[in-house]
Amino acid sequence: MKDELKKRIVKAPNGVEFEVEPLRDYYCEAPPTVMPQAYSKIVEKLFNWARSESIWILGFGTGCGAIEMRPLMTPRFDAYRYGVQWRPTPRQANLFIISGYLSVKTLKRAIRSYEQMQNPKYVIGLGSCTINGGMYWDSYNTIKRLDQYLPVDLYIAGCMPRPEALLQGFEDLKKLIRAGKAEGANQYAENFEWYKANQKQVIKDWDMPDYNW
């Protein structure tokens, strides 16, 4: 556990001393909950249509795939015409693209970023590294199966997939969302213990709260 996360006595500017327990005081302890469906089926369908038409991507590139997202923001491929855009913070995003290999160190940050995103949220695994390890199949510090650690709604295969493949992936994700099948966030909430156990198995120095949005 890092020093800044340990329980300690802090002296305020006015001289009052008080106890701080960062894990309890600064972070949320409540585990995520399953988001219920709307009260009527047709309303849920409307919601899903609306969700599918506003895909906001977290600008977090984990591997070489991040370079494939740059052309999508420029006029040649122009993903913005499909209602897709990139956002700088997890709070504003609802799609997390794991764009390539994930080292254990990056996995830690990816988990924190994913948990900070607000529902509804989706995860795309981009490239073969997220599917079965790809060319990093025997590496000592990259994970081989992304779906053990984060709920993946859609995989885009390739090493690396071209920007066109990503555009096709966005269209496929929209179909999944409209069909009500992109339930990754709810799966994460339902199987929270299982995901946490898997995450802690590879992140040996777990120094953050279990759930930290």
């Binding site: 254990v104 160190k105 830690k108 599917i131 079965n132 390890g133 199949w137 025997d138 590496s139 000592y140 510090n141 990259t142 994970i143 081989k144 199966r145 053990q148 898997n198 198995q201 590879v202 992140i203 040996k204 120095d205 777990w206």
Partner: protein, 177 residues
């Protein structure tokens, strides 16, 4: 390059000399004469830039080879100094006071090879890996495939093809009579 090594040989007992190119040579020295040699090269011979400091694991000889690569910018030539150290409880004198950048290389070697450099700044802090518990991963007795199979969940069904055989089968399929 040749004059330089002749000159240095008068001052220090130099070991094996490899002249890779006209502007690149490698010399082996004993661990005791490394520091005076580096100082001589830096202050008198114009090798002011430490290009890199890296290690090779000679597991069969039970030794680590440290390579200090120095560059002389005005002469546009490089010299590599090879030092062999014992592999068990590997440690080496720090040179961070000669080149501050060496501290970063030494941190990397501590983490990846387990070579200790006592006194080097932040040498005991994690460098790249977080929470590493196994053998240092660049050591040759660390089995990276076995570690990854034991540690990370694998997706079943992955098959590995021999590239030569696979291309042969693809390009020249066996025609059944």
């Amino acid at each position: 390059m040749h004059e330089l090594t002749t000159r240095l040989n008068k001052l220090f007992p130099l070991g094996e000399l490899t002249e890779q190119r006209a502007d690149l040579a490698f010399v082996s020295v004993a661990r005791e004469s490394l520091r005076p040699l580096l100082q001589q090269l830096r202050d008198q011979e114009g090798f002011t830039h430490l290009v890199l400091l890296t290690a090779v694991d000679w597991i069969e000889e039970n030794q680590f080879q440290l390579t200090y690569l120095l560059s002389n910018r005005s002469e546009a030539c490089d010299i590599g100094i090879r030092v062999m150290i014992d592999r068990d409880e590997a440690n080496m004198e720090s040179i961070h006071d000669l080149w501050p950048t060496a501290a970063t290389y030494q941190r990397e070697l501590k983490e990846m090879f387990g070579i200790d450099f006592p006194g080097s700044p932040r040498i005991d802090e994690e460098f790249i890996l977080e929470g590493w518990v196994d053998l240092p991963p660049y050591r040759r007795d660390f089995d990276t495939l076995k570690f990854s199979e034991d540690t990370y969940a694998q997706r079943p069904g992955r098959e590995t093809l021999d590239p030569a055989q696979h291309m042969k089968d693809q390009l020249y399929p066996v025609v059944e009579e």
